[in-house]
Symmetry: none
């Protein structure tokens, strides 16, 4: 399975995603096309698939309950990036190269990420006992995850030479700077007031 993904990524990068047929991949991995589809429902999923899917929950629950959500998200996301990068940077680089460039795959990836954000926000809300559809929670999670994606973009463009986590930190800092220059438009909602104290 890992092996199939390996061969597929290699071929995709070597000769282009669209130019690589499933038959090529199957041949390279020494299996039949039929077997390919047993492991990956579609061609896109070969790129999407990640061996160890997020072990976020624990970290989320280990944080002090009075920590601001943004801070928690920042740490969780950071830890994920770190893990991703430590495990198998070359493969991540290959994958992200495709995730960033092939439109069909990128679409699926964005959608996938988005639903991940939703889950993150929901889980967080559950753990903290906040309303699950809190406006602030979601936009915060989205902004933080976007920072991670931007960092990945950069990192990929640098060919993996820069440090992914540093890029991420810098991106979040930039976000803080930029948003910090904005002033609120409306009055705070009562709950928000309480949060802010």
């Amino acid at each position: 399975m890992r092996e199939i993904q390996g061969e597929a990524l290699r071929l995709f990068v070597e000769q282009g995603y669209d130019q690589t047929t499933i038959e090529h991949v199957a041949d390279a991995a020494d299996i039949s096309p039929r077997t390919f589809f047993r492991y990956f429902p579609t061609k896109e999923d070969v790129v999407l698939w990640d061996e160890y899917d997020a072990v976020v929950s624990e970290l989320l629950e280990s944080r002090p309950p009075d920590e601001p959500p943004a801070e928690t998200f920042r740490l969780v996301t950071r830890a994920s990036l770190e893990a991703l990068c430590r495990r198998d940077p070359e493969r991540l680089l290959l994958r992200y190269q495709l995730l960033a460039t092939v439109p069909a795959v990128r679409g699926r990836f964005l959608e996938f990420t988005r639903s991940g954000v939703d889950e993150l926000a929901t889980r967080f809300a559950a753990h903290r006992g906040v309303a699950a559809d809190d406006q602030g929670l979601r936009i915060t999670a989205m902004a933080i995850v976007d920072a991670a994606m931007l960092a990945l973009d950069r990192w990929q463009r640098s060919g993996g030479s820069e440090n992914l986590v540093d890029l991420y930190d810098a991106t979040v800092d930039a976000l803080i700077d930029a948003i910090g220059k904005l002033r609120r438009r409306g009055r705070r909602s009562p709950r928000k007031e309480r949060d802010a104290r």
Copy 2:
């Protein structure tokens, strides 16, 4: 011409992007499949093409050059939402309903939005004479546009009963609140310093 796009979008929205063949579109627009390709090189281009872009550029250029980017993005995005909502709210509601729910379409939409963000940042950078790949610009634009998307999500879930622009303002406020609680991690980069002054 843009009649083709009209029919195509309608069909995509009604029955899903993948379920709609070029032949369907051609039939609906009363042309031959062959002619379709004379106007749009591929199926995707029908979706990606947009005719109201101008609005953004003007507004972008009319802002004072020392306004913080985040502020500019906030205003531009706000104006776009306002325009969208004023023009044809029912159509927007319908479209967004599908954009939000059908995964395949949502993927396309996210991808589309993302590239819109890129363009926005690039254009802004060009106008201000900043480096086009400024880290801060991109993350800021993304966060702001995410707020717009979240607002659209809410608005769509409310069935269009709430005010879209109000939702947007509230979401941006929530973003400001949340990110405001974060402290920078690193020292400012030299260029960032200059930006901040």
Copy 3:
């Protein structure tokens, strides 16, 4: 064993025959696809197999040997409907709802019914000692069974509120009325003459 059939029928009914793969069925029945084939040589056999056949035979053999075939068929079919309806009307309603509407399933059902008619006629012929391919026998059985199917159609459309057997009787009566208005075209064949006496 018949548990497999149970699961299979449920799935066929729920999501359509063609949409249900053997793998689905195997999963639902908690066996491996390989084992499925140990019990049913092909996918179709799951549908075609029936476990209550005995009823018909007995009834068929209990009728006086000089009773007109049409009368025997009428009674046998009537009894079958009665049994069907008594046993589990809701299930019958559900099943027939799909048998009537989903084209693919309906095709199978018609084919299945047709072969049932064949069997009925053959068995009857064997019991009475008539030629197995008697023209009259088959058309009679078909007409009678059609009446049953029409009754089922109506009954299903009424949502099960009407009495199935009454509908059946009325349909057969209508058949008698209509066919009674026809005159024979040709001379009776010798064998037919004998039958008629």
Copy 4:
């Protein structure tokens, strides 16, 4: 199109329906598989398709309005058989051979015929100004059409040597004989009374 069907029927009969792939057919007809699907949506449809689809309406409307429905149906069906048989008996024989034996095709054929019966009854009802869902009309049409199908079965089994229309007449006669021996079970409904006078 006719040509494709010709080649397909030949191959199906020569080497079996399932053993003949669409590629074989395409090769024999000197077209690409892709083109095959332009004309026939599925493999089954090659057998199902009939060049001149029923010209029943006229005949239906030319009959005197007080003729019993059964009589009209008998004539219409008879005329159809005659036409079918006169036009291209060999092809009909081939087609019916497959329609009778290949289960998948037979299923579709029965379903197809059934909907034809429905249409016939509906059209008749419209022309005569009777209720479209008249119980008697439908069962009558079904019985008559069944006679035609039985005749086709026989004819096909005889290898086309017997006269199709004669077989049909004999089958209808047999139907009349058999049903004539049945007595009504219930009282006539008011409308039925009127019809019968």
